[in-house]
Symmetry: C2
Subunit: 187 residues, 2 copies
């Protein structure tokens, strides 16, 4: 079972080895996946995609054990259960400031390699105060394999096809309803 | 440059090593791809997909040279230029007879392996007369790799997204038009 916790487009500052900084827009989705087989476990799935580049996909799966390492490594003071909401709060903070010239909270996507197609990337939530840059959270995401991208696109395609079908129905119904009303009014 | 010559759903008789024969519906598309770089060449691309199984993809690319082998091997009497239309004529013949109890022309998809996920498949156009089964054409198709399927799904997704957008516009316009007419009629 999968619960979608967050799914929004956000401005992001993109930095890699070769290009200068640039602004871009990516979609971040956060899902909580509950598995019961073979054991009960919860995984948090973070996914970066780009609505304008269907092949762009970065993934991160955080299990409860992974979270313990992340917690120690980044000095977090919350537990796995509270982490998703805290992460979302930070993202919302970035959204609320993304149109400012000098946002206090900024989302950064950095890559050590020259292109984003290969190596891992870091998604950082950075606060800038008068004194320094403070990294609140830094998550390492891996580029999706062809199999990952294939599955992701199939899911998108099913959703869009269904939405399209609903639109077609709605259009038919709207035309019928209004034509009927129009006929009635013209009598 | 790619020219779409055919794109229809057809009934097909599916046969593999393990299962019995069964009827299924697949989509066959035929495209002519013109390449000018590095040399001028034409490729005929045959693609089998399944609208209900987004991961089902079989491909065949026939170049002019490939066609010469095919021609010799299957005793064809036409040249590469006439081949696409002849192939389409045979498919249309299958369509026109597919609702009959005993169709004279039948489309067959056979696989030597137990499942369709792996090994190659043969797409056969078979005429059955009182005396025997006559194979008019037999094409060997390869299952798409994850990369192929990824590209195919991305193309589908772009198309469906665009169609959805056009529907949204049409719905808005229909609502506006009819509401305006209704207001006018009610005055």
């Amino acid at each position: 079972m999968t619960e979608l916790l967050f799914n929004k487009r956000l401005q992001v500052q993109v930095k890699n080895r070769e290009t200068d900084e640039r602004r871009s827009v990516i979609r971040i989705s956060i899902e909580l996946q509950l598995l019961t087989n073979p054991v009960h476990r919860k995984d948090l799935i973070v996914r970066l995609t780009d609505d304008t580049d269907l092949y762009f996909l970065y993934n991160l799966v955080i299990s409860e054990e992974d979270f313990q390492s992340l917690k120690v490594q980044q000095g977090l003071l919350i537990d796995f259960t509270s982490f998703p909401q805290k992460f979302i709060d930070l993202l919302e903070q970035c959204i609320s400031e993304q149109d400012r010239e000098n946002p206090r909270f900024l989302l950064q996507l950095t890559s050590a390699s020259s292109a984003f197609d290969h190596g891992p990337s870091n998604l950082n939530i950075v606060e800038t105060n008068a004194f320094k840059h403070l990294t609140h959270l830094s998550l390492k995401l891996l580029p999706g394999s062809d199999t990952d991208i294939k599955k992701y696109l199939a899911t998108c395609l099913s959703t869009v096809k269904e939405e399209k079908q609903q639109l077609e129905q709605k259009l038919r119904k709207t035309e019928e309803d209004l034509t009927r009303q129009l006929n009635y009014a013209q009598q």
